[in-house]
């Protein structure tokens, strides 16, 4: 085991790199400088000669029947090439990630504010927008079904999907449901075993991924009747799988190539403009580009599920948990998206990284006329963590215990079982993470004598010169799964080719992995260098000419596609060495590829790779499957459902202006076990980014929806943290290898997003004494002016 303390660039330079630019090193990312300088080509920068611009007409109503659509005036606008409605769709009219319940264009009704109804292609984006305004839609506006109470009483308030059109696996306006019982469950007898019981109701607002690159892509019709789509997405192959039936094309005629992605965070896991651009391109026979405007982007992708949660925890007088009970209601909005999997995560991870002998859980996702919700970093584990960590603090207070000690006393460790019955068969250093985060030095106290207004809540808004400022400290820990769960075989494919170019051995790595900013392309090159002993690695553009790489989500890409690159590179190495053994009769079993040469540990350098390879190329393709999992039992929630667990602990230090309700996070410390840091700089970046996104949820980020209507579809009013809101984030990394994972690594990206939010809220509670049961915490909550 090794640990690294990384507070900033200075410390990073002290890390001993095993092999330069191989795994464990921190080579710089190839896209980094371009992005910082504004020279990186994003999907919105795509251009094709003679291309048309597509745009959509979207519903202003969250729930309405469409009585008629008249496109005749729009078609008369000079420069307009096509106006399409669902009647022009050649194939299947519905698609979806898990359940095909979403029409590619609205059919006779709209179920959410912003649902696409018709498409226009024109020779100029402004012409397209003007034409859209000429489409006449007659609506019968209906009262939207938006609250939990309304959704759960369809007899009174109606169905989002009428029973005859309902495609999900639950009932009524429930999209998905998962129950879980372990031990004796939670009964009055079990409750009686506890000396102390605390309960609470918690609410999480609708967070947005807030990626900066709007949904965009370019569809080019092909001579074979197919279409080539250049697209910013998270998973090329699942896009294609959903698109082809709607376009009525065989899979091989729908070819996707990854374009520059400006952030994703789950928001690109669903289709946005993919089908629309292809429909227009196939209809007009011309290339069609679609770029969403910022407000359209807020309507064009799913968000994090808002949640209402009720928790009850019981413990003995000395702090041992006896039982935990929970009901989680997630608002999935109009269409299923990833709701079933989000529910599975919420149910299976919703009691946190704690040993609890008796557990009950009931998690559901609702259909409503609110915006659709689906994948976002943390995926069902985020909402629950706010609930169970708030409960831990409440329990500690009721017991008169230190909140960190209470958590440590009940923390899971390797060999323990989750409430699903799944044994944690890899390191789970939860108590140690908490200890380390607690032991890290605290920032200096607020110095009222030498104030810098920029460091106070409100900063240069000049609201305080020290008045009303109270400091608070809070702790939390969280658990997240890595990879797709519940029996899903989200395998990854990699093709690796080794050949001599310009007198040097060069490896080419070809995968369909979506590089969305996570740094996967850097890591793939590192893996190829380590396995093949070469310096030069070329990353082939990601496309559907190679097998699926699965989604860039669930913290899985380094594990899964990185693992596939490792397998393919090992196969190339094996073939190369076999060739040498065959040609030169090597008998050594200690061969490896180092520094461009075949090396024997006992006999030294045998031959340069260049000489062994000559004019040949060696190419191998491999699939990497993680170990199989099973779906959770519907009633008991039992099952070996997750591939890997990952843990992060945080400490937040905040200054709160208690009179004005303004918050400044002073420091946000993170300690995370990453198994093996393939690229320590990127790992720290992921953890700091994850913490920052968690900070946003804690104190500012929320899509405000009233009566089904989105009220802040812009970065003017959907606030994300600026650098002045982002504190120093000291990160300590543990590397306890997971024996089941390539290189022992653990997915990194999501755990801090799960764990950091509750620590910030805990710190604000300590400063203010307020209960704070809803996030994001608003100034109104802290000043009783809601």
């Amino acid at each position: 085991m090794s640990t690294r303390t990384i507070a900033g660039q200075k410390n990073l330079q002290k890390i001993n790199q095993a092999a330069k630019d191989g795994i464990g090193g921190s080579p710089l990312r190839p896209d980094g400088t371009l992005k910082v300088k504004g020279e990186f080509a994003y999907s919105s920068d795509l251009w094709h000669e003679d291309m048309l611009w597509g745009t959509a007409l979207r519903s202003p109503h969250p729930r309405a029947n469409i009585l008629s659509v008249d496109v005749s005036e729009a078609l008369k606008v000079p420069g307009v090439y096509a106006v399409l409605t669902h009647e022009d769709i050649p194939g299947e009219k519905y698609y979806g990630l898990e359940i095909a319940d979403q029409p590619a264009l609205a059919i006779d009704k709209v179920r959410y504010h912003g649902e696409a109804i018709a498409l226009v292609a024109a020779d100029h984006p402004e012409t397209a927008r003007r034409a859209v305004k000429k489409i006449k839609v007659e609506y019968e506006v209906l009262t939207p079904i938006v609250t939990e109470e309304q959704c759960l009483d369809p007899e009174t308030h109606g169905y989002v999907h009428e029973p005859h059109e309902y495609k999900s696996h639950a009932y009524g306006n429930v999209c998905h449901e998962q129950k879980l019982v372990s031990g004796l469950g939670v009964t009055d007898e079990v409750r009686a075993l506890a000396d102390v019981v605390v309960s609470g109701e918690y609410e999480v607002g609708m967070q947005d991924q807030a990626f900066l690159g709007p949904e965009s892509g370019l569809a080019v019709p092909a001579e074979d009747g197919g279409v080539d789509l250049y697209i910013a997405t998270q998973w090329l192959h699942v896009d294609r799988q959903q698109m082809a039936p709607v376009l009525d094309l065989p899979l091989e005629k729908v070819r996707l190539t990854l374009a520059g992605v400006g952030g994703a965070f789950g928001g690109r896991e669903d289709l946005s403009m993919q089908i629309h651009a292809c429909l227009l391109a196939l209809h007009t026979g011309k290339p069609v580009k679609i770029v969403y405007a910022r407000d359209e982007s807020f309507f064009g992708h799913v968000h994090r599920h808002p949640a209402r949660m009720r928790y009850e925890h019981g413990a003995t007088r000395d702090g041992k948990l006896v039982f935990a009970d929970c009901r989680i209601v997630l608002d999935g909005g109009a269409y299923a998206s990833a709701s079933p999997a989000v529910v599975g995560n919420a149910a299976s991870l919703g009691h946190g990284p704690y040993v609890i002998p008796n557990v009950r859980m009931h998690a559901i996702a609702l259909y409503s006329n609110n915006p659709s919700c689906g994948a976002m970093r943390g995926f069902g584990a985020v909402q629950a963590a706010f609930g169970y960590e708030s409960q831990m603090d409440k329990l500690a207070e009721a017991l008169g215990m230190d909140p960190v000690e209470l958590r440590q006393l009940n923390a899971v460790t390797q060999g323990d079982r989750m409430p699903t019955g799944q044994e944690i068969d890899a390191p789970a250093p939860v108590a140690e993470l908490l200890q380390r985060v607690k032991d890290m030095p605290l920032p200096p106290p607020l110095d009222l004598e030498h104030l810098d207004v920029r460091t106070l809540p409100g900063a240069l808004s000049n609201t305080s010169h020290g008045e009303g400022i109270v400091r608070g400290v809070g702790y939390s820990v969280g658990i997240k799964n890595v990879g797709f769960s519940e029996g899903f075989d989200d395998y990854s494919t990699a093709r690796v080719r080794l050949e001599v170019i310009g007198g040097e051995p060069v490896a080419m790595v070809h995968t369909a992995m979506a590089e969305v900013g996570q740094g996967g392309v850097t890591v793939h090159a590192q893996i190829a260098r380590t396995e093949l002993g070469v310096e030069q690695v070329t990353i082939h553009p990601a496309n559907t000419e190679v097998g699926s790489a699965g989604s860039t989500s669930a913290s899985r890409q380094t594990y899964m596609t990185g693992g596939a690159v490792k397998l393919a590179a090992e196969a190339v190495r094996h073939e190369l060495l076999e060739r040498g053994r065959h040609r030169y009769g090597w008998t050594q079993t200690d061969l490896s590829l180092v520094g461009g040469k075949v090396v024997s540990a006992s006999a030294g350098v045998l031959i340069p790779i260049v000489d062994l390879l000559g004019d040949d190329a060696i190419e191998q393709t491999r699939e990497h499957h993680h170990r199989p999992t099973v779906p959770f039992d519907k009633e008991t929630g039992q099952g070996f459902g997750h591939v890997q667990y990952t843990f992060c602990a945080n400490r937040a230090v905040v200054d709160v202006d208690v009179e004005l309700g303004l918050v400044k996070v002073v420091e946000l410390t993170a300690v995370q076990d990453v198994g093996k840091a393939l690229n320590p700089l990127s790992v720290v970046g992921q953890i700091q980014g994850g913490c920052t996104q968690a900070l946003g949820l804690a104190v500012m980020e929320e899509i405000v929806v009233k009566d089904g209507k989105v009220r802040n579809a812009s970065f003017t009013d959907y606030l994300i943290p600026t650098i002045l809101d982002t504190p120093p984030i000291p990160v300590q990394i543990l590397e306890l290898p997971d024996p089941h994972a390539p290189y022992g690594l653990r997915g990194v990206g999501e755990a801090p997003t799960v764990s950091a939010t509750p620590s910030i809220v805990a710190a604000i509670r300590q400063a203010t004494g307020k209960a704070l049961t809803r996030i994001p915490v608003r100034p109104e909550h802290l000043t009783d002016t809601l």
Partner: protein, 295 residues
């Protein structure tokens, strides 16, 4: 959409007379956002960027004549002495990029109740006026007559803002703004405050808490009376906590905010009272220091 690009001020006024619905643009930090969001489709855009005198300011020692297009960054850098309240407000505008382009003229043209300049201009005194020019001539519009409704000002359709005239500060000034993040935020509400020892008055300005920017008239009158009756201008003695409290309550009472996506009306009223108390206290402490060091 026509794009007009006059080279001189006279050409600009002629263009505005000919195209009274033309939308003037300078930094574009407001106009371009609204165009991009398709909020407006003006018949014409009147680009003022070639008219360099709009980016100049001058002072005769008593009044600063601030060109309509002097960017906030230069107000912070060059005018924090004579116009401390406005400079503090300028600090809270957007990001560095926005402060390099945005200007007080733009704030006045848009006349949004959330414009950051307005509370500072109101607090700077009733003598603050907007210099409006047209082919018909020029006039000075007192700041108290400038804001007439939500995003409406008292300019005639053929008028352009040439400059703002602001008295040089004769006492401490402060500006506070509430946002739900620590930078780059539209005001939830804002408050400007100024002491004017020369004529024994005080100035206030409330932002984002009424249909227009407005002053808290009763709060100003109350405080002016207390300062005069108790001889506090001369003595520099501490204000009693009841004075500070009362002032805050009167500022709060002067607002008529609404609930919206940025905040509740109750919070805005509450925050205005807090900001009023704090800015008054800061200014008075500074004033006390000044008269003590003068004594």
């Amino acid at each position: 959409m026509e794009f007009l690009r006059p080279a001189t001020w006279d050409e600009a006024l002629a263009a505005k007379a000919e195209h009274p619905t033309a939308l003037p643009i300078s930094g574009g930090t407001d106009v371009m956002v609204e165009l991009n969001f398709d909020v407006h489709r003006p018949s014409a855009i009147l680009d003022l960027n070639r008219i360099t005198e709009l980016t100049e300011w001058s002072s005769d020692g008593a009044t600063v004549r601030l060109g309509a297009a002097v960017p906030y960054a230069r107000i912070i850098e060059e005018l924090s002495g004579p116009l401390p309240g406005l400079a503090l407000a300028a600090h809270t505008v957007g990001s560095p990029q926005i402060r390099n382009r945005g200007s007080v003229g733009g704030n006045l043209g848009a006349a949004s109740p959330a414009g950051d300049s307005h509370p500072a201009l109101l607090a700077a005194g009733r003598e603050v006026c907007v210099e409006a020019h047209s082919v018909r001539g020029s006039r000075l519009i007192p700041i108290d007559e400038f804001y007439v409704g939500v995003k409406r000002n008292s300019l005639e359709p053929d008028e352009l803002i040439r400059a703002v005239r602001i008295p040089v500060a004769d006492g401490p000034q402060q500006f506070s703004k509430i946002g739900t993040r620590n930078a780059m935020v539209i005001a939830v509400c804002a408050f400007g405050f100024a002491l004017h020892p020369e004529d024994g008055t005080v100035g206030t300005g409330i932002g984002s808490a009424a249909p227009t920017p407005r002053r808290a008239v009763e709060a100003e009158e109350y405080l002016r009376g207390v300062l005069a009756e108790r001889g506090l201008w001369e003595s520099g003695e501490l204000l009693g906590p009841e004075v500070v409290q009362r002032f805050g309550e009167l500022v709060k009472a002067a607002a008529s905010p609404i609930d919206d996506v940025r905040g509740t009306a109750d919070y805005r009223r509450h925050a205005l009272a807090v900001m009023a108390r704090r800015t008054l206290t800061w200014c008075w402490n500074d004033y006390r220091k000044q008269i003590r060091s003068a004594a």
